[in-house]
C-alpha cells in the first residue's frame, strides 16, 4: 500500500527527472568541443586572419527543435572571374563534430550563398567562414538558444 508520503516523493521525483535530462553539456566536454572547432577552423584557414563582415549567417535565435534548423549563409561578392567567393564553411561550437557543411563554388554560382537545414546539439554559437578568390577570409557568427537538443535521446553525448 502506498502511503501519501511515498506518493508525494515519487511524484516529485518524476517531475525532477525531465529537468535533469535538459542539462547542458558538462564544462569539460564544452572545452573539448570548442578546441575541436578551433582546430577545424585552423585546418581551413591556416594562419590567415579571419575578418568579420561581408558574410551574413541567418539562423532563428530561438530553436524549439534542434533536429532541423533552417540555416542560410550569404556572402557579399560581385561573383566575377576576378573577384568571387571560392568556399563557404559552417562550424558549430558544441555539436559532437564541429563541421556542418563546406561549399565549393565559383563565378558560375551567380550569388554566393546557400540555404539548408542543420542539427544543433546545444545552445551555442554557429560560425560561417567564406574564402574569397584573393585568399582573404571573412566570417559571421550567430548565437542560438536550443530548447530541444538534436542528440537528446542519448543524454547529450
Amino acid at each position: 500500500m502506498t502511503t501519501r508520503r511515498e506518493f508525494l516523493v515519487l511524484a516529485a521525483a518524476s517531475f525532477a527527472a525531465p529537468t535533469a535530462a535538459k542539462a547542458q553539456l558538462d564544462p569539460n566536454q564544452q572545452a573539448l568541443r570548442r578546441t575541436a572547432m578551433q582546430e577545424a577552423l585552423r585546418r581551413v584557414v591556416g594562419d590567415a586572419p579571419v575578418r568579420r563582415g561581408r558574410v551574413k549567417l541567418e539562423l532563428p535565435p530561438l530553436i524549439d527543435n534542434g533536429n532541423s534548423v533552417p540555416l542560410s549563409v550569404a556572402v557579399e561578392s560581385p561573383m566575377t572571374a576576378a573577384d568571387h567567393v571560392k568556399a563557404i564553411h559552417v562550424f558549430t561550437e558544441k555539436n559532437p563534430l564541429p563541421d556542418v557543411v563546406s561549399v565549393t563554388l565559383g563565378p558560375r554560382a551567380g550569388r554566393a550563398g546557400l540555404s539548408t537545414r542543420v542539427r544543433l546539439a546545444d545552445t551555442q554559437t554557429v560560425l560561417a567562414v567564406a574564402q574569397l578568390s584573393d585568399g582573404s577570409f571573412w566570417s559571421d557568427s550567430a548565437d542560438v538558444v536550443v530548447t530541444l537538443s538534436a542528440c537528446l535521446e542519448e543524454g547529450l553525448i
Partner: protein
C-alpha cells in the same frame, strides 16, 4: 527508395541568376545515436552533393552528420545556355542518386 526532388525554372533569360532547390530523401544517420540496447547505430550520411551545368561543375557541397535528415540544399546559378543541369548525391553504403533537369535559355 533513393529519391530526390529538384525545383528550378524551366526557362530563363541569358545571364539571369536562377534559384535551384534540391531535396534528397535520406535519414542522415549521424553515427552518434544508440539503439535501446546501447549499440551504436552506424553512420549513414550523404557526403557530397555536386551540381553540373552542361558538364561544368558549378556548385559542390560536402555534408557532415550535422546536416538534418532529408537534406535540403538551395543555391543559385547563372543561366548561361540551354541544356541540362545534373545533380548528384553520393553517400555512405554505396548511396548514389543522379537527377537531371533541362533548362531553356533565351
Amino acid at each position: 527508395m533513393a529519391r530526390a526532388v529538384v525545383t528550378l525554372p524551366a526557362q530563363a533569360r541569358r545571364g539571369e541568376i536562377i534559384e535551384i532547390k534540391t531535396l534528397a530523401a535520406h535519414p542522415m544517420e549521424t553515427g552518434f545515436r544508440r539503439t535501446q540496447l546501447g549499440e551504436l547505430i552506424p553512420r549513414d550520411i550523404i557526403r557530397r552533393f555536386v551540381c553540373t551545368y552542361n558538364g561544368t561543375e558549378v556548385f559542390r557541397v560536402d555534408l557532415h552528420p550535422a546536416v538534418a535528415a532529408n537534406p535540403l540544399i538551395a543555391f543559385t546559378t547563372v543561366a548561361t545556355e540551354s541544356g541540362t543541369i545534373a545533380f548528384q548525391w553520393v553517400g555512405d553504403n554505396g548511396y548514389s542518386v543522379t537527377e537531371t533537369a533541362s533548362i531553356r535559355v533565351e
